[in-house]
C-alpha cells in the first residue's frame, strides 16, 4: 500500500518519453523490436518510433493500444497543410525486428520507409533536423515497456549512415534505459520494488 502511494498519482494529459536523439541530420534509421510477449497497456497504449521533433514531423515505428491484437507498424505525418495522419502498415508480431527509416529527399520533403519499402512523403521541414528514437507511453505510468532499439543511425547529406554517437538521453520515471551504447539500448519500466527503493533513496 505504501508503495502504491509513492507512485505517480496522476499522469493525465502527459506522455512519457524514453530514448535518445541525434542533433542534427538529414535522416535516420533504426531497428525496433517488439517485446517477446504481449505487454499490458491497460486502457491506453504506447508507440516506439524514429521521428522528427515538434512542431511538424514524420514518424515511423510500431504502436500498440488496448484494442490491438498485435502491435502495428505505422507512419505518422504532421505537416502544416495536410495536418495529422496515421497510416498503419500491418502487424509487427511479438519478438520481431523491423527497420524504420525517415529521410529527407530534397528541400523540405521527407519520406518514410519500413523495411526499405517506401510508404509516403510529405513537405515537413528543411534539413538538417533532430532525429529522435524513442518509446512513448501514453498517459498511464502502469503501462509495461520493454523495447529494444538497435543500430540507431543518422544520415548525412551524402546519404551515408553512421551509428548515433551522441547521448541526448530522455528518461522519465518510472521508465528507464539500459544502455549498451548510443545506438543500442533497451527502454523498460522499472519494477514496483525498484520504484520503492528509488523513492526511498532519492529522499
Amino acid at each position: 500500500m505504501f508503495v502504491i502511494l509513492l507512485l505517480p498519482q496522476s499522469t493525465a494529459s502527459s506522455a512519457f518519453y524514453i530514448g535518445n536523439s541525434y542533433y542534427i541530420a538529414y535522416g535516420g534509421k533504426v531497428d525496433i523490436y517488439t517485446p517477446g510477449y504481449p505487454i499490458n497497456v491497460f486502457n491506453n497504449g504506447q508507440s516506439n518510433w524514429i521521428s522528427l521533433p515538434l512542431p511538424y514531423w514524420i514518424q515511423a515505428g510500431w504502436r500498440y493500444y488496448a484494442s490491438f491484437q498485435l502491435p502495428q507498424k505505422y507512419v505518422e505525418y504532421h505537416s502544416p497543410i495536410t495536418n495529422c495522419e496515421i497510416y498503419h502498415q500491418g502487424n509487427q508480431d511479438w519478438g520481431t525486428k523491423v527497420e524504420y527509416n525517415i529521410i529527407n529527399v530534397g528541400d523540405d520533403v521527407w519520406c518514410a520507409y519500413i523495411n526499405n519499402l517506401g510508404i509516403g512523403c510529405r513537405e515537413i521541414v528543411y534539413t538538417p533536423e533532430v532525429i529522435e528514437v524513442m518509446s512513448e507511453i501514453h498517459e498511464d505510468h502502469r503501462i509495461e515497456l520493454f523495447t529494444q532499439f538497435e543500430n540507431a543511425s543518422y544520415r548525412d547529406s551524402s546519404n551515408n549512415y553512421y551509428l548515433f554517437d551522441q547521448g541526448n538521453w530522455f528518461e522519465q520515471f518510472p521508465y528507464l534505459i539500459a544502455i549498451e551504447d548510443e545506438s543500442t539500448y533497451l527502454t523498460y519500466r522499472e519494477l514496483t520494488y525498484q520504484q520503492f527503493l528509488h523513492v526511498i533513496f532519492s529522499n
Partner: protein, 286 residues
C-alpha cells in the same frame, strides 16, 4: 554469305525487340491514361475541387492529382482538405482493388492563383487477395443502435449519430457520422471521445457485427467553433484529423519536446532489468 545471314538475323532480333518495347510502352501509356481518366471521373463524382489528374510516370505508374483550395487558412479549409485528400486516397486504393495497377500517387494542393500549398506522395502495394464476402450479424439499423450505445459521448451533446450507406465506384461504403457539441474544452481534454473511435470501429468489424468502413467525428465548441475534425478509415487502416489549439495531443503519438536543445546527462549504465522477459532469444547485453 554466312556473315550476311548472321547480320540479318541480328537486325531482325533487334527490330523485334524494339517493336515489342514500343508496343509495351504504348500499352502502358494507354493504361495509365485510362486510369487517370477513371480516377478523374470518380473524383468529380465526389464534387472535389479537382484541377487535373495526369500521368506523372509511366513505369512504375504514378498519377498526379491537383486539388484547389482557397488561400485563406481556417477550419473550413482544413475540413475540406481533410475530406478531399481522403477521397483521393480512397479512390486511388480502389483502382488497385481488382488488379494491382497503380504504384503511387502524388497529391498537389494549390490555391486559386496556382500557387502550390503542399505536395505529397503515397506508395501502394499489392494487397492480399480478399476471401469470400464476410458475413455480418447486424443489420444497418441494429448496427447504428449498437454503436450509439457503445460510444461514450461523456458530457457532450450529440447532434448527429448516424450510420449511412453510400455507393462509391459501385461499392457500398458504410460511414458513421458523429457530430457533437462539447461546451467545455477541459472536459473534452479529459474525456477525449475521439480516442475511442479507432477501437469502436475496429471492434465492430473484428467481431463481424457490421462492416463500418469510415467514421467521421466532428466536435464543436459552445460557439460552433470546430475543435476536432477526425476521420478514421477502417479499410485503409488510416486516420486523418486536425484539432484546434488547446485540444489535447496526448491521444496520438507525437515527438518528445526538446526543451533546451541540450544533451542531458547520460543515465547510469544499468544491467538488463531482472524479472522481465527478453525481447529476443539472444540478449545483446551481458
Amino acid at each position: 554469305m554466312k556473315n550476311i545471314k548472321i547480320w540479318m538475323l541480328g537486325v531482325s532480333v533487334f527490330l523485334v525487340a524494339l517493336l515489342s518495347l514500343l508496343v509495351f510502352w504504348r500499352v502502358n501509356a494507354d493504361r495509365g491514361q485510362q486510369l487517370a481518366e477513371q480516377l478523374s471521373q470518380s473524383l468529380q463524382s465526389e464534387r472535389l475541387p479537382l484541377q487535373s489528374v495526369r500521368v506523372a510516370n509511366q513505369s512504375p505508374l504514378t498519377l498526379e492529382i491537383t486539388l484547389e483550395y482557397s488561400s485563406q487558412d481556417g477550419p473550413e479549409r482544413k475540413a475540406d482538405i481533410l475530406r478531399g485528400r481522403h477521397a483521393v486516397q480512397w479512390h486511388c486504393t480502389q483502382l488497385n482493388r481488382e488488379q494491382f495497377q497503380l504504384n503511387s500517387y502524388i497529391v498537389l494542393i494549390q490555391n486559386p492563383s496556382g500557387q502550390q500549398l503542399s505536395w505529397e506522395q503515397n506508395f501502394l502495394y499489392p494487397s492480399d487477395a480478399e476471401d469470400s464476402p464476410e458475413q455480418y450479424s447486424l443489420k444497418l439499423s441494429e448496427a447504428n443502435d449498437y454503436l450509439r450505445e457503445a460510444f461514450l459521448a461523456g458530457s457532450a451533446r450529440v447532434e448527429r449519430f448516424e450510420l449511412i450507406k453510400e455507393q462509391k465506384d459501385g461499392v457500398p461504403v458504410y460511414t458513421l457520422m458523429i457530430q457533437m457539441i462539447e461546451p467545455d474544452l477541459a472536459t473534452l481534454n479529459r474525456e477525449l471521445p475521439m480516442a475511442q473511435v479507432e477501437r469502436l470501429i475496429r471492434d465492430v468489424n473484428a467481431q463481424k457485427l457490421f462492416p463500418v468502413d469510415i467514421c467521421w467525428l466532428e466536435i464543436k465548441g459552445p460557439n460552433g467553433e470546430t475543435w476536432v475534425d477526425y476521420l478514421y478509415d477502417y479499410s485503409l487502416s488510416a486516420m486523418n484529423w486536425w484539432i484546434a489549439d488547446g485540444v489535447s495531443t496526448e491521444w496520438f503519438p507525437h515527438p518528445a519536446p526538446l526543451p533546451n536543445q541540450e544533451p542531458t546527462a547520460t543515465p547510469a549504465a544499468r544491467p538488463y532489468p531482472l524479472g522481465t522477459a527478453q525481447p529476443t532469444a539472444s540478449s545483446p547485453y551481458p
